[in-house]
């Protein structure tokens, strides 16, 4: 079952490349086009299952909207810094490696949610720092992907800021459903027991994502 689902999801070499149509649009663009980039940023989050798994892990035990917004904003902050610096500074990192780290970030959140760090290290690393760090890595990965296209210098900063705004909007949209579902589930007695299973599955999915990308790095170079 898990095998079938995974095969259906993993249709492409990169965790979530831009669609051909969107890539053509980005390449042909001259000047600022904030609205399309907000849309692309939101789409990137809503349709990227690696991002979605990470977000499920992040909000699993958050139940106040205020906390959800704080964590999401920290992620966006990290994401914005490296996306802007990466594209403007011409910094590139292998996309497979970045996507592997994104997979490991899912493992990290799942492991933290089952209390792994408390049991193993005796304390819980500051989740806010971790979320910020992973935001930085996610942004770097996207900066690398965006540079594969011949981006017009014209209006580039506006477009990138628009993209980051879209990332924030997309996360909030996706999380609205996740938070509602979790809030409902949390009221039921089975939550604590199934929380362990769910987060273990997150860890597993993260390992698959990371393994997929590491294999891609080794095999496809």
């Amino acid at each position: 079952m898990a095998v079938a689902v995974w095969s259906a999801l993993a249709g492409t070499a990169l965790a979530h490349p831009m669609s051909e149509q969107n890539a053509t649009f980005v390449q042909g663009l001259q000047g600022s086009a904030a609205a399309p980039f907000v849309y692309l940023g939101a789409k990137h989050m809503v349709t990227g299952y690696d991002h979605l798994l990470f977000l499920v892990g992040v909000v699993f035990f958050l139940y106040r909207l205020k906390d959800v917004v704080l964590y999401v904003s920290l992620f966006t902050l990290g994401h914005s810094v490296t996306l802007l610096a990466g594209v403007l500074g011409g910094i590139r990192v292998d996309a497979h490696l970045v996507d592997a780290v994104i997979g490991l970030s899912v493992v990290y959140k799942g492991f933290e949610n089952i209390g792994g760090f408390e049991r193993l290290l005796g304390f819980r690393p500051d989740t806010r720092m971790a979320v910020l760090m992973f935001g930085l890595v996610h942004g770097l990965g996207l900066a690398t992907k965006l540079q594969e296209f011949a981006l017009s210098k014209d209006g580039l900063v506006t477009n990138l800021l628009g993209f980051n705004l879209g990332v924030e909007v997309g996360q909030i949209l996706a999380l609205a459903f996740v938070v509602l579902a979790l809030a409902y589930w949390r009221r039921h007695a089975g939550f604590a027991r199934w929380a362990l299973v769910t987060n273990s599955l997150l860890v597993s999915a993260g390992f698959v994502l990371a393994g997929h990308q590491l294999a891609g790095y080794v095999l496809a170079g």
Partner: protein, 197 residues
Amino acid sequence: MPDTAPQAAQEPPSLRTVALATATAFVLAAVILVTAVLPAEYGVDPLGTGAAFGLSALADTRPGVVAPATGSYRSDSAVFVLRPFEWIEYKYRLEEGAGMLFAWEATVPVRYDLHGEPNAGPEYAESFESADRQEGRGTFRAPFTGIHGWYWQNRTTSEVTIRLWTTGFYTAIHEFFEGGSTSRTLDDDRASGGDGS
């Protein structure tokens, strides 16, 4: 909605449970990777599961590399001399999905517009690319059945010469200019189209 206790208030699972859960997660991930992801994505099939379930076929498929075409293979070349502010349109009839290799060059930069007109509405044109350039080259694949080609305009005050070369699966050539147009249906053989200069 009642405030339920956040995670901090709950006792985390025991170290044994954490270790068991993590190990299970890792083993499950390894099994999925080796039996399904590696064969399907990269054609690496250490246990033979990719071949057994037909997953390896996914790794062998490269969509879009070969696109079979109907219709005759043709080549065409044309030379246009445009006086100041004169324009010309030169288009090929292509079926949806039919491809064409092209290259054109001008003596100075010209305004161009690569566009297509579907059969249904001659009034309607869809522009694919438009700019001021001195040359263009590439592969064109018709997104719909109709006539597809270039509009060029000389926006300088001196004469411009434009040369065009194409190869593809087109069936007719249409030329439009100030005050008229010509159309040629190409013979259904392998001979190349005429020189349109």
